[in-house]
């Protein structure tokens, strides 16, 4: 073996702790970057390709009783690839002794021949036969039923009918018929045959048309096809209620993945810096230890080029090993996280596979960053004269101490503590690099907690639109006055409001039907709303046909401004509404929502003084979810006993709980990234502390020689680590502010169409402080222990 190769290998194997720390620093940075690249690609690919594989509908049109002949007619349209009809009806399923939950029943003529929206069998059998039901897996756990059980369905007449549960399926199109991310707001879903419908006293006629189009990836082509279909419906006398269009790859939860991707892009950028700083820091320290050896090499004829090559070879060896560990590890971590995410977001992970661009990206970084980082100290060392290198004058710790004696003097610290504090600032460049690394890690950690708080606050603010304790809806409209009389007789009830509600359809400027819109009409004097306005104003009592639109309008119909008029088709009639303002709601989560007064909406739905939807306020304030549920059950019983057809009685908070589910997946994802950042930061600090201790081994020996105990030595090193940790904690908290703002813009933009207000929480700050204290102690303890275990002879003979 050539001597120079032996020199590289002896540097590599000569100090195993140092070698492990350097490789760990390189590896952790590469893993973080690789993981982000793999996860970003895998999430998007698996969700989009997996969704396209189930052949989802590009167009869904809800209307009144379509027949098969008409569907066959539409299927012959040139832009249509496939056309199928589905009968959809929402009833209620018994989920407890007195508990009922909405269940959306989908009935198809022949599931075996059905091509649109393929489901995946999870358990039992598929498809269902007559008087059998199959439940969708994502909501099946909200019912107590197991395969073979009889699922009890409450009909609109109040009768209970049983269907045998024969299977559980996964349906990736769950929630796809709503605007935006309908997944988390979708009720329990069941699949039955068309022949089962009459037994449930439902007409066996199709209420929804589903189409796939030839241009499934071209939104404009899909929109054009939808307009043609709606026109055909109009010409043939079919009433349509709403339409929903989606690309073949547009999974209902794609916006969450888009939000996560936005976070990953942002964090990936920061992690790249973080990793680079980590690597630069570690290698600079390593090369500084080699300065004297560089002097020796030069003293017997080593040229500058030879020395540079020698040390770059060593760094390359570190990089190659780091890369070999990091490439598979990054993939494993990414797919582990994806396997956690996929069920939450109702998509299937395709499992582990190598993602070449990520591997190449890691290889590129492994090749460039460590070499570039090492080049600075290598060039510096190779430029030193032999005398400088051998004398170690370049490494002199305190060159110009003038005036420094006053530093920290006012603190009256003991000498051991003073040593710890001064050691912190001894290698200023290294301190800065360490602080930058930990600050980035801390900033991202704290920011992810701020994001969790921001999302929670955002959800809580949605409570401004759901202030009632119980939402009571009926299968048909009842006199508001009569319902009020009955409800007020219940002792727990303080007040009740009858709201008008309708699903309308936007009529575009060229007269074509557009997106479905949920319209709510609270009474003019409603006390159950505290809207969050974005633009314009809220409704005035004297307004007529005024409307306030949610933020999704601003994205879908940017041309609509305050003062404009919009036309909405409600119950077959087109009504013009004056836009007076825009309010902030749950963004793309809920699709288009509009508020108007009760009167004009009741007039449009021909239900004046009557309503199907009631909001009830309890006498007792601040009810818990359980108390609200109990009151809902009591009210349902009261009205059912009086012959009212109750469609649903739900706790006010349940709407918020469901809305929050989608965001829980996002906050869980943020937490995962927080932990990743913490790990990167800890390894960074640990490496720095180890190298600091290694450099001061001789001084530690001297202190031991003059009477320092193991405890004193360990304490000094731990205090030094703690000071670095605490400084980085402060800078991390400061850095969290701009990082939080950037994350709020990324997440808000992806989900709500606009940045969400940032809520700063002390939770992340506190946890990061705790972690920093623990991490710095752990990171310092190992080198401290190692140092205190060395005999003084070993130490003084060091180097």
């Amino acid at each position: 073996m050539r001597p120079r190769t032996r020199k590289v290998l002896s540097d590599f194997f000569g100090n195993p702790t140092r070698t492990v720390m350097v490789i760990a620093s390189i590896t952790v940075g590469l893993v973080a970057i690789g993981m982000i690249l793999v996860l970003r690609q895998a999430m998007v690919t698996d969700m989009m390709q997996g969704y396209a594989a189930v052949n989802p509908a590009n167009i869904q049109i809800q209307g009144v009783f379509f027949d098969q002949d008409f569907i066959n007619h539409l299927a012959r349209m040139p832009e249509i690839r496939q056309a199928e009809g589905v009968a959809i009806k929402t009833l209620r399923v018994k989920t407890g002794s007195s508990q009922l939950k909405p269940i959306k029943l989908l009935a198809s003529r022949d599931y075996a021949k059905r091509e649109i929206g393929q489901v995946k069998l999870v358990e039992g059998d598929w498809p269902p036969l007559d008087r059998e039901i199959v439940l969708e897996v994502n909501r099946a756990d909200e019912t107590p039923y197991k395969i073979g059980d009889t699922v009890l369905i409450k009909l609109t007449s109040g009768e209970i009918r049983g269907l045998k549960l024969v299977g559980i399926v996964q349906d990736q199109t769950l929630g796809s018929d709503r605007g935006g991310a309908g997944f988390f707001l979708a009720p329990i879903q069941g699949y039955i045959t068309l022949e089962t419908l009459p037994w449930l006293k439902i007409p066996d006629l199709f209420t929804t048309l589903q189409f796939t189009t030839a241009g499934g990836s071209d939104r404009a082509a899909i929109e054009a096809a939808a307009s043609s279909i709606l026109e055909e419906c109009r010409k043939n006398g079919y009433t349509t209620i709403s339409k929903a269009v989606r690309l073949s790859t547009e999974h209902p939860n794609l916006l969450y993945v888009n939000a996560m991707t936005a976070i990953l892009v942002l964090l990936g950028f920061l992690v790249l810096f973080l990793s680079a700083f980590l690597i630069i820091n570690t290698l600079s320290a390593l090369l500084n230890q080699q300065i004297e050896q560089i002097g020796v090499l030069k003293s017997f004829g080593g040229t500058r080029q030879q020395i540079i090559f020698l040390y770059l070879s060593l760094v390359l060896l570190f990089s190659v090993i780091g890369f070999v560990i990091a490439a598979p590890l990054a993939h494993l971590v990414a797919y582990w996280e994806q396997n956690l995410l996929a069920p939450q977001l109702n998509y299937s992970s395709s499992g582990f596979r190598w993602f070449l661009p990520a591997v190449l990206g890691q290889a590129l970084i492994a090749l460039i960053v460590p070499q570039a980082a090492a080049l600075i100290p290598i060039l510096h060392g190779s430029n030193l004269t032999v005398q400088q290198a051998l004398s170690g004058s370049e490494n002199a710790e305190v060159k110009n101490p003038a005036g420094r004696q006053t530093h920290l003097a006012w603190l009256h610290l003991s000498r051991p503590i003073a040593i710890s504090l001064r050691n912190v600032f001894r290698k200023r460049l290294r301190l800065i690099l360490t602080l930058v690394t930990l600050t980035l890690g801390g900033g991202m950690f704290v920011a992810t907690f701020n994001m969790r708080a921001s999302i929670a606050d955002y959800i809580a603010r949605l409570g401004n639109y759901f202030m009632a304790d119980v939402n009571l809806s009926f299968n048909r409209a009842y006199s508001i006055h009569e319902v009020e009389q009955i409800a007020r007789a219940v002792p727990e009830v303080e007040s009740i409001e009858g709201w008008a509600a309708a699903v309308g359809q936007i009529i575009t400027a060229d007269g074509h039907p557009g997106e479905a819109i949920l319209m709510e009409g609270p009474p003019e004097n409603s006390v159950l709303l505290e809207p969050i306005l974005i633009r314009g104003r809220w409704l005035d009592p004297q307004d007529e046909n005024a409307i306030v639109l949610n933020e999704v309008f601003m994205e879908l119909y940017p041309q609509v401004q305050v003062g404009d008029t919009v036309t909405i088709k409600i119950a077959g009639s087109e009504v013009r509404w004056a836009v007076v303002g825009f309010f902030q709601f749950a963004g793309k989560n809920t699709g288009l929502v509009a508020f108007t007064h009760y009167s004009p909406l009741a007039k449009a739905t021909h239900s004046f003084n009557h309503s199907t939807d009631f909001r009830i306020v309890a006498r007792k304030k601040n009810l818990t979810l359980g108390e609200q549920t109990a009151l809902a059950e009591k009210l349902e019983q009261v009205f059912t006993e009086r012959g009212y057809q109750v469609a649903e009685a739900s706790a006010g908070q349940s709407v918020l709980t469901n809305s929050a589910k989608g965001l829980n997946a996002l906050t869980g994802f943020l937490l995962f990234l927080s932990v990743l950042m913490a790990v990167v930061g800890t390894i960074g600090l640990s490496g720095t502390m180890s190298l600091n201790v290694m450099e001061r081994t001789r001084e530690i020996g001297v202190m031991r020689a003059i009477g320092a105990s193991d405890f004193e030595i360990e304490r000094m090193i731990i205090v030094e680590g703690l000071v670095v940790g605490l400084i980085s904690w402060i800078t991390g908290v400061v850095a969290a502010m701009p990082v939080s703002n950037a994350l709020a813009a990324a997440i808000g933009g992806a989900i709500f169409g606009r940045p969400i207000p940032v809520s700063f929480t002390f939770t992340g700050v506190g946890i990061w402080l705790g972690l920093m204290v623990i991490f710095t102690i752990v990171a310092s303890l190992l080198p401290a222990r190692t140092a205190s275990r060395l005999t003084i002879r070993q130490i003084l003979a060091y180097e």
Partner: protein, 249 residues
Amino acid sequence: MVPKFPYRTPDFTWDERTPIITVRDLNKVFTLASGDVQVLKHVNLEMEKGEFVGIVGRSGCGKSTLVNMITGIDHPSSGEVTVAGQPLQALNEGKLSEWRGRTLGIVFQFFQLLPTLTLIENVMLPMDFCRMFPPAEREERARQLLARVGLEKEANKFPGAVSSGQQQSAAVARALANDVPILVADEPTGNLDSRSAEEIIQLFQELVAQGKTILMVTHDLDLAQRTDRIIHMSDGVIVPRLIAEGAQP
């Protein structure tokens, strides 16, 4: 009366009829890649309180190793070392550090002052480590020690800002910080100019006159002549003076 704080004061009590340093049948073997090397061979040595002893010999003769055994910096392969009544083999590494701080002052060839502490802080450090003297008294004591070695004006300077001779004087002051009875100096003048070396030797002689025991390793026979007794070492054994002188080049 029980002291308010558990600060220690010098309290060396041993049977002063016995030597302050006793080395019995000391052997030290280093295991190297090339095989075992016996650096010390059956060494026996005694030093009385107040003696100033010089150990001389060629490089590699084992004199520094012998000093490391006496200071507890290294452990013998066999044999016994007793210092101020304390058998060193009975102490573990941690206990040795504390014992050393209260019993021995070590002066190194390269001074080994901590670069981030001022001279006075360096002198105060052993008192902090061993909790010797009440904290309020430590600074004044350190200042007195620095004044004794002529560094009162340099007390607040960092080691890098003073000369080599001054650094070694500060190292001697540090070695005396805990009022230890024994000073062990390994080539204390090896890195100094002749004037500074002379000052250090004079200081040692003053200290011996005040009752301190000093063991000094040196390769300089002239300096060794200034001690009370010279121990000659060659190939890991203590040799008689005449043989040693005959062996000198």
